[in-house]
């Protein structure tokens, strides 16, 4: 990935709109469209010039996994040389007009490739058998600054209930709260993330925070 001119971003923005529409359309092309969409969102924002994403597919029709790196990997290298552990397990409903669905997703910001120095992680799982904890939650690898906080399994194992985590909100958090440099100007990436996120949330499964359904 290389830094592009403003004209190139215009092309990327147009691609993002088109690919989002292809994801919404569902069908067999939606998995590839989601992979390309992910690539462009990170290209526009916090993806390192050598970062990669990949799509794994098997013989089970309509199923795929989009993850960072190459086959067997899951890390997207960021512009600050840290990493986002990125895994989205996807499937397409048989009905042709149904939006691509995520079975589970993990977005984990980590300082090292091994993941020992992870900072936060958004988890999402759709299906009831996976809802031992609320479908969407946040983990923070930290300790409270005050005494007396009881957490049976450690603070980093607390499931902070959230709404549906999105790629866009995770990227926004990285840029705005963790200072990860963006590849494009704020006037470019802000509206692009907003537009894509609104379109996604319009059709997304949005579990109520904290409710185990």
């Amino acid at each position: 990935m290389t830094r592009s001119s403003p004209r190139d971003w215009t092309s990327t923005l147009a691609d993002i709109r088109r690919l989002n529409a292809e994801c919404r359309a569902g069908g067999p092309n939606a998995l590839v469209a989601f992979t390309d969409l992910t690539s462009r969102l990170f290209c526009l924002t916090v993806g390192h010039r050598h970062a990669t994403v990949h799509l794994d597919r098997g013989e089970r029709l309509g199923h795929g996994t989009v993850a960072g790196g190459h086959k067997g990997e899951e890390l997207i290298r960021l512009t600050n040389d840290h990493y986002l552990r990125f895994i989205v397990s996807l499937y397409v409903e048989e009905q042709a007009d149904v939006y691509l669905r995520a079975k589970l997703s993990v977005f984990q910001y980590q300082l090292d490739a091994a993941g020992k120095d992870w900072v936060f992680r958004y988890d999402y799982a759709r299906d009831p058998e996976e809802k031992r904890h609320p479908a969407a939650h946040l983990h923070v690898n930290a300790e409270p600054r005050v005494r007396g906080v009881t957490t049976p399994r450690g603070f980093e194992r607390v499931h902070f209930f959230t709404g549906r985590p999105t790629i866009e909100s995770t990227i926004r958090l990285l840029i705005e709260q963790f200072g990860v440099p963006a590849n494009s100007a704020a006037e470019v990436w802000r509206p692009a993330l907003y537009e894509n996120e609104v379109a996604f949330l319009d059709v997304a499964h949005r579990p109520l925070p904290g409710i185990i359904q």
Binding site: V53, H54, R60, T65, V88, K103, L104, Q108, R132
Partner: protein, 66 residues
């Protein structure tokens, strides 16, 4: 855009990848997947890569049922 790759894998390639990842974590892949499906896995995200690969296999794959 970031470089994008698509990997079309056979059942055996997927199973080999799952087993390699499970070996690195010193876990039994069958246990991880079945425990997850029964809601008995406390921290499923630790094994999200294994679970995501397992989704590429049919539900009655011998890896889970044997």
């Amino acid at each position: 855009m970031l470089a994008v790759q698509t990997y079309e894998m056979t059942r055996d390639e997927i199973v080999a990848l799952i087993e390699a990842k499970a070996a690195r974590l010193h876990v039994d892949p069958k246990h991880i997947v079945t425990a997850h499906r029964h809601g008995e896995l406390e921290d499923w995200a630790d094994y999200a890569d294994i679970l995501a690969l397992a989704e590429l296999l049919e539900n009655d794959d011998p890896l889970f049922t044997a």
